[in-house]
């Protein structure tokens, strides 16, 4: 089986400071990988380098494209990369307002990716937008409301719908549950888990919340100071951490 994503030796420096370095891993179709670590550990830098938002200083991010098989997305043309990020890739931002158009209705937000890839039938765009609102548990009669009239949890779900409407194969998530209260978090996690399984999505989730990765991620990568210090099966890393930093991280979680 060909990995969906092969990350080879990614390095990103900010001047002489390390953003992240020596990151190498494969992600297979249907796998969900969590990246955990404290603030400043380089996990967001890594995610942005993978998703094409930052240009890594060296390394390859090889994606198994539908048309041409594995292609290095770092060196592909910007047009191709942006096309990829509108079709087979999705990016869920921590703050929904970074990932939504706040002045455009919920339906328009969901429809944008469809129109971007050439859908020109209003009726079918609207139908799919309504369908997706239902799938993320937003009432269909909110379709013409702007996201500014939505709660934080609804905005986050709308952002997910907007991203998944084109049936991407790889989703990048940056703290998708950050800033939401716990009951809203639980609902979002359940939703994400269902969608991941239903659509056979692969995902890379950056978070500092270990409970989130335990529920969502198959595999875990622990980062510290820009480097990967431990990888493995999620429950194994959390229940039997090998590296001193992971042990500290796991033992630092407050119990309810």
């Amino acid at each position: 089986m060909t990995p969906l994503l092969q990350v080879k030796n990614i390095k990103k420096f900010y001047g002489s400071r390390i953003g992240c370095t020596d990151v190498t891993f494969d992600l297979y179709p249907g796998e969900v990988m969590g990246i955990v670590g404290e603030s400043g550990s380089g996990k967001s830098t890594l995610l942005n380098s993978l998703a094409g938002h930052l240009a890594p200083d060296c390394g390859e991010v090889v994606f198994d494209t539908r048309a041409d098989g594995p292609v290095d997305t770092v060196t592909m043309s910007e047009a191709e990369r942006r096309m990829l990020s509108r079709t087979d890739w999705a990016f869920v931002h921590q703050h929904a307002r970074d990932g939504l158009r706040m002045s455009v209705s919920a339906g328009g937000n969901i429809g944008e990716r469809l129109m971007a890839v050439g859908d020109r039938h209003y009726g079918s765009i609207r139908e799919r937008a309504a369908d997706w609102l239902g799938r993320v548990e937003i009432s269909e009669n909110r379709i013409d409301d702007r996201p500014s009239a939505f709660s934080g949890g609804m905005q986050q779900r709308l952002q997910i719908a907007r991203n998944l409407v084109t049936g991407p194969r790889l989703v990048f998530m940056d703290e998708p549950t950050g800033g939401l209260d716990v009951s809203v978090q639980a609902r979002l996690l359940d939703l994400l888990r269902g969608l991941v399984r239903e659509m056979g999505l692969s995902a890379i989730i950056v978070t500092h919340d270990l409970a989130v990765v335990r529920l969502l991620a198959d595999r875990l990568m622990v980062m510290k100071d820009g480097r990967v210090v431990e990888t493995g099966l999620t429950d194994q890393v959390l229940d039997d951490p090998q590296h001193s930093y992971t042990q500290l991280l796991v033992s630092s979680v407050l119990q309810v």
Partner: protein, 227 residues
């Protein structure tokens, strides 16, 4: 089906003066299809630890843990995931699920994971829940709000939903009333009959005698050097 060779396990506590705590040494055992092996030993002897090593939850320090041809001690995460999906079931003492998912779906999940059609998976889940006397009105609710006994029965139903060729059972009959206990023992017998290799921990001696074909005393694997 399940074969352990010279498995040892120790915990190194880096943040507490790098204390090394050996917990298991030279664990060797073998379970054939259709066989049920009971783990015995006093509390703290390492029964659950051994199970977790077999399930891949704990990383074996040395030795090999071969389940259905895969060496869990060395396998890639995705090989272990495939193994857990298709070959190796685990009924732990705790139910860990996403809040809000209905009980019926929690039980059906292992079937859905291997591609069983939703209707069929739900039917199987419903029949297991009925067998284990979970009242039907609860099926649509999340098990997170259930009593301890109910949660455990949900956990058992989930563990038996899919016919795993190999199973790990951690105290499946603990705190069950007589009727449910009989049901669970029946499920274990059925699994054995279809050829499942089972490793179990039973504090309930009568149950142990009924289903287990042989016993392994985990105390034999306790690190001797420490003593």
């Amino acid at each position: 089906m399940i074969e352990l060779n010279n498995v040892s396990k120790s915990f190194i506590l880096h943040n507490q003066g790098s204390a090394v705590i050996p917990v298991m040494q030279n664990a060797t055992l073998c379970v054939k299809p259709g066989e049920c092996v009971g783990l015995t030993g006093v509390s703290g002897a390492g029964k659950s630890t051994l199970m977790r090593v077999i399930y891949g939850n704990y990383l074996a320090a040395s030795g090999s843990v071969v389940v259905g041809g895969v060496d869990v001690a060395k396998a890639e995460p995705r090989e272990i995931l495939a193994l857990r999906r298709e070959t190796l079931g685990y009924v732990s003492q705790f139910l860990r699920v996403v809040p809000r998912v209905p009980t019926l779906d929690v039980v059906a999940e292992p079937l859905l994971a291997v591609g069983t059609p939703v209707g069929q998976a739900r039917d199987k889940a419903a029949s297991l829940l009925a067998q284990l006397n979970i009242p039907e009105p609860l099926w649509g609710l999340s098990p997170t709000t259930f009593s301890g006994g109910e949660q455990q029965r949900v956990n058992i139903a989930r563990g038996f939903a899919y016919d795993y060729p190999a199973m790990l059972l951690d105290e499946p009959t603990a705190s069950l009333d007589a009727q449910n206990r009989t049901t669970v023992l029946g499920l274990i017998d059925t699994a054995k009959a279809r050829g499942a290799a089972i490793i179990g921990i039973f504090h309930d001696e009568a149950a142990r005698e009924t289903v287990c074909d042989c016993f392994v005393d985990v105390s034999d694997f306790s690190p001797k050097a420490m003593a």
